[in-house]
């Protein structure tokens, strides 16, 4: 500041201050500031590494004892101190896939409606409502699921079992209500807003000329959507779906509350079986010795690995189509 004043008032500014009087190295403020923000960025890297390191650290005992075979082990016996997690992996996958089967058509349909059909005045409110659904915490879905959804599912189960009990998927015990079906439905409700919001952004990123090109050939709007828009952004939509899958896999509270918590290989849609997250959440407080805790953390590590791989895949797909213009967080 002082330097500028001198320049402004002095008749012979060039002789008063030289550029070399202010070498870049003397700019302490910038250097300190730069290093501070760089430090915080470094902190993010450290935190991410810590996350991974601590998971390995916490599960080390179980990793040593069971090795990679933990993943396909089918026994979970705290009394005999023998642990393996294949049934929960399968339980997680089945619940998540069921959720996808329900949620994907609805989400992409809703996204198409919001992006293309909805009148302009409705778009904002509609997007906002969908995003509000995403803001509701998992435990609230669990609460609602437990007291509202589960009784309904129980009625459906009894009916299905009565009429289609010969069908393997419907052969399980029908009295509980809690179980794979209830968990799948609640997960579907939870991931619908996520898939919808991202798909909407992706569909809107399709150049208008694609839709118009189809319409100008005498296509109906639905034909233009099906033949021009959806094929154009299929990669991004796949990314959105996979992101929803990633969310479903790691979802804990709602699944713990309505999924039924039994360690068993899944046999029907009505089975109350654990998913990985629900097993950790429900057994952690009962884990009385370190190998037990370590095994639960090992389950967490496997869950972490699966969700990270799935999410990186989704990110790549979404980046590819939108050049990073689509955010998960709005």
């Amino acid at each position: 500041m002082a330097g500028r004043n001198t320049i402004a008032t002095s008749p012979l500014p060039a002789q008063k201050t030289k550029l070399s009087d202010h070498p870049a190295s003397a700019n302490w403020g910038d250097r300190i500031f730069y290093n501070l923000v760089r430090l915080s960025a470094l902190f993010v890297i450290i935190l991410s590494s810590l996350l991974v390191i601590e998971l390995f650290h916490g599960s080390w005992e179980a990793i040593n004892k069971f090795g990679i075979g933990f993943i396909w082990g089918t026994t979970w016996d705290p009394v005999k101190e023998e642990f393996g997690t294949l049934p929960t992996i399968i339980g997680t996958l089945v619940k998540s896939l069921l959720a996808l089967i329900i949620a994907v058509p609805i989400s992409i349909g809703a996204a198409v409606y919001i992006a293309i059909f909805a009148p302009k005045w409705l778009r904002g409110p509609l997007s906002y409502l969908v995003e509000s659904l995403a803001a509701i915490p998992s435990v609230i879905f669990g609460l609602w699921g437990l007291f509202v959804l589960v009784p309904i599912v129980r009625v459906i189960q009894i009916w299905l079992k009565g009429h289609f009990g010969w069908f393997p998927l419907f052969s399980g015990p029908a009295v509980y209500g809690v179980g794979v079906l209830a968990a799948g439905i609640i997960l579907a409700i939870m991931i619908t807003p996520i898939i919808t919001a991202i798909s909407r952004d992706i569909i809107r990123s399709v150049p208008k000329s694609q839709m118009e090109g189809m319409l100008a050939l005498g296509a109906t709007r639905w034909e233009a959507i099906r033949k021009a828009i959806l094929p154009y952004c299929r990669v991004g939509l796949a990314g959105a779906v996979i992101l929803g899958l990633g969310r479903a896999l790691g979802e804990t509270m709602a699944v713990t509350m309505v999924g039924g918590n039994a360690f068993a290989l899944i046999t029907s849609l009505f089975d109350p079986v654990h998913s990985m997250a629900s097993q950790i959440a429900s057994e952690f407080s009962e884990a009385t010795y370190s190998l037990y805790i370590s095994s639960l953390i090992y389950v967490g590590l496997v869950l972490f690995g699966i969700t990270i791989i799935i999410n990186i895949l989704a990110q790549i797909l979404i980046w590819k189509i939108s050049n990073g213009k689509v955010g998960i967080i709005e």
Binding site: K120, P207, S209, Q210, M211, E212, G213, M214, L215, A216, L217, G218, A219, T220, E223, K227, A228, P231, Y232, R234
Partner: protein
């Protein structure tokens, strides 16, 4: 069965109707040679009557009345923002696809109002195709599939050889066949910009429209590709009515038989200033604003 009969009938009547004006155009050219020019007698393809186009409350195009002659090239010129493209998009009801776009007034295609409540915009666009400013081939489709994208929609069932014939015909009409006949299974995006635009023209022709609207079709192309498209437009005029929006006056003079000059009025709405034969409009404009524009004094 019934449906196929229908189609044959449709096609039958269509060709009949097409051949009739064709003969009259022929007559007209004879007249021209004899110096007995009677433009008023020429058959009219699209008759625009009191057309207004709006974006929400803003009126972009104001009270346009204009007859577009069949089997002729009509160009629409004017400074940017004067509503040329908007007017063009009103002619096959694409304007209503834009946010808040609406129109009033009449647009008659062979005496039928395309804005009649009972008329389906989809049916309109089958008869009045459109080529856009930037080439927009469908990237997930091959060249072949691009060409028949619209055609296939109109058929319940098509056999392979009919499809192949259709593709060849359309690509030949678009003067693209020789360049792409070995690349039919490649993506449309693999072609050059000019080829892509001709692919889009072929795609439009494959639907067998009567009118082809072109919205600055060369603005994204280099001069050589532009020249090819202009040649193509001249060739197509034997079979199709063409309306072309262009910001390039030389292009309008080169390709069109008739020229329409639009200008933004005081309320920023585009108005029709002058309409006439291209030769007359460019050499002897009736309105001084037209003269000012074509001599480059504004715009």
């Amino acid at each position: 069965m019934n449906k196929r009969d229908d189609q044959v009938n449709n096609e039958g009547t269509a060709t009949e109707e097409r051949s009739l004006p064709h003969r009259r155009v022929h007559l007209h050219s004879e007249h021209q040679q004899q110096g007995e020019q009677k433009p008023a007698d020429m058959p009219i393809s699209i008759s625009i009557q009191g057309l207004n186009a709006y974006y929400g409350k803003f009126r972009a195009v104001k009270n346009i009345t204009l007859d577009i002659k069949a089997k002729q090239v009509t160009s629409v010129i004017g400074p940017s923002g004067c509503g040329k493209s908007t007017m063009l998009r009103c002619l096959n009801r694409m304007h209503e696809e834009t946010q808040n776009g609406r129109t009033d007034g009449k647009v008659l295609l062979d005496d039928e109002d395309i804005y009649d409540k009972r008329v389906d915009p989809v049916a309109v666009r089958r008869k009045i195709g459109m080529v856009f400013q930037k080439p927009n081939p469908f990237p997930t489709m091959s060249v072949f599939d691009n060409v028949v994208a619209g055609f296939k929609l109109n058929r319940f069932w098509v056999n392979k050889s009919e499809l192949a014939d259709r593709v060849e015909l359309a690509l030949k009409q678009a003067s693209l066949w020789d360049e792409v006949k070995d690349k039919l299974n490649q993506s449309g995006m693999a072609l050059s910009g000019g080829q892509q635009q001709r692919l889009c023209i072929a795609r439009t022709l494959a639907v067998e429209p009567e009118v082809v609207l072109m919205d600055e079709p060369c603005s994204a192309l280099d001069p050589v590709a532009t020249l090819k498209i202009e040649d193509l437009i001249r060739q197509l005029t034997s079979k199709y009515t063409i309306v072309i929006v262009t910001h390039n006056m030389q292009q309008a003079a080169r390709v069109s038989d008739w020229t329409t000059f639009l200008l933004m009025g005081d309320d920023r709405a585009g108005e029709l200033i002058e309409y006439g034969e291209t030769k007359q409009l460019f050499t002897n404009p009736k309105d001084e604003r037209t003269e000012a524009y074509i001599t480059g004094r504004f715009g």
